[in-house]
């Protein structure tokens, strides 16, 4: 609570640049997949309350920057509640997560989890890689092995 208030004060004072957060629904996720066809899409599900998610994010952001020009698109989807949007926005800005950065607005978490991958139980972090045709080709449950992810991307690009 104190943390959120502090962030709001900093945001109001312009000391922290809030990132734009785009709410994403089940339909929005399908639109994201459709719009990314022709690129290699890496989707990372994370949350501000998830320590390993926060830990791995800078490496994912660096990887996204390294391969963006070669056709990789990175989408980070925060699984935080709407009430934590300020904390999410602060982390997005601080970590320089590429825009648009998303925050969940799913109608049904269970259905969404199953839609992304039927074998996923909902543990975070969770990273999915889609090839240029939009086919899901790799998933990384838990913390991603960044070297393995980079090899996957290199093969797909």
């Amino acid at each position: 609570m104190k943390h959120s208030i502090a962030i709001l004060i900093l945001l109001a004072a312009g000391l922290v640049h809030a990132a734009d957060l785009q709410p994403i629904s089940e339909a929005g996720y399908q639109r994201l997949l459709a719009s990314a066809k022709g690129k290699v899409l890496v989707v990372n599900f994370w949350a501000t309350w998830c320590a390993p998610c926060r830990k791995e994010m800078p490496e994912l952001v660096a990887l996204a920057a390294k391969y963006r020009a070669k056709g990789m698109q990175f989408a980070a989807i925060a699984i935080d509640e709407e009430s934590d949007a300020a904390t999410v926005a602060e982390f997005v800005a601080k970590t320089k997560i590429p825009q648009p950065a998303y925050i969940k607005r799913f109608q049904d978490d269970q259905k969404f989890i199953s839609m992304v991958d039927p074998r996923w139980s909902g543990g975070l972090p969770f990273t999915v890689v889609y090839d240029r045709t939009g086919r899901k080709v790799h998933v990384f449950p838990g913390e991603v092995n960044i070297r393995e992810l980079e090899q996957v991307i290199q093969k797909l690009l």
Binding site: P52, R119, G122, L124, V137, V139, G142, V152
Partner: protein, 183 residues
């Protein structure tokens, strides 16, 4: 092997635990314990000291324990996180005045057997020692927005011998921090 294939293979290997006659864990003094399930309804709940989601359920877990323990449901709270020591688990239990015992699942042996992935992840074992439910406690992290009380409903149905309203659910949670095992 692709990561996707490896994931599938790992899950297939782990799969459903089949019959769970005995749950093996370690108490917070380091002593091995064996908890038998035959003839009882057992709720196994993987929890964490640090995961905010798991901690949001502390009061609800206490309420469930208080409601169902007296009705004959056996609860087994396991901490399988390699990053959370027995001392930390004991302090956490004391701080939150848990009325139940928490055990360590050293080397995440039971987490692997159950294919437990996150905290809090629940498995209900029927009187015949088969897993009859796996998933979430309810459908909302904020307690004031719960609309479906999965675990409570499953336990009530199991106690009354009625068909279960649900056998599997999913929810967002913190991944269990497993030890790294050589393959």
């Amino acid at each position: 092997m692709t990561t996707l294939a490896a994931f599938a293979a790992a899950l297939a290997l782990l799969g459903a635990p089949g019959k769970v006659d005995v749950i093996k864990a370690t108490d917070l003094q380091g002593k091995p314990v064996e908890i038998r399930t035959a003839g009882k309804i057992t709720a196994v709940i993987f929890i964490s000291t640090q995961c905010p989601i798991s901690n949001d359920y502390n009061e609800r877990m206490k309420a469930l324990y208080n409601e169902f323990h007296g009705k004959g449901v056996q609860f087994v709270f396991l901490n399988a996180n390699s990053t959370e020591s027995s001392a930390e688990v004991a302090e956490h239990a004391r701080k939150h005045a848990f009325p139940f015992t928490v055990y360590k699942d050293v080397n995440n042996v039971e987490a692997d057997r159950f294919s437990a992935e996150f905290t809090p992840h629940v498995f209900v074992i029927g009187k015949n020692s088969e897993v009859i439910y796996r998933g979430a406690i309810d459908d909302s992290r904020p307690a004031d927005r719960v609309t479906k009380t999965y675990l409570k409903d499953v336990l009530n149905a199991a106690l009354e011998g009625k068909p279960l309203p649900v056998t599997e659910t999913k929810a967002f949670g913190c991944t269990i921090k497993r030890v790294k095992k050589s393959t």
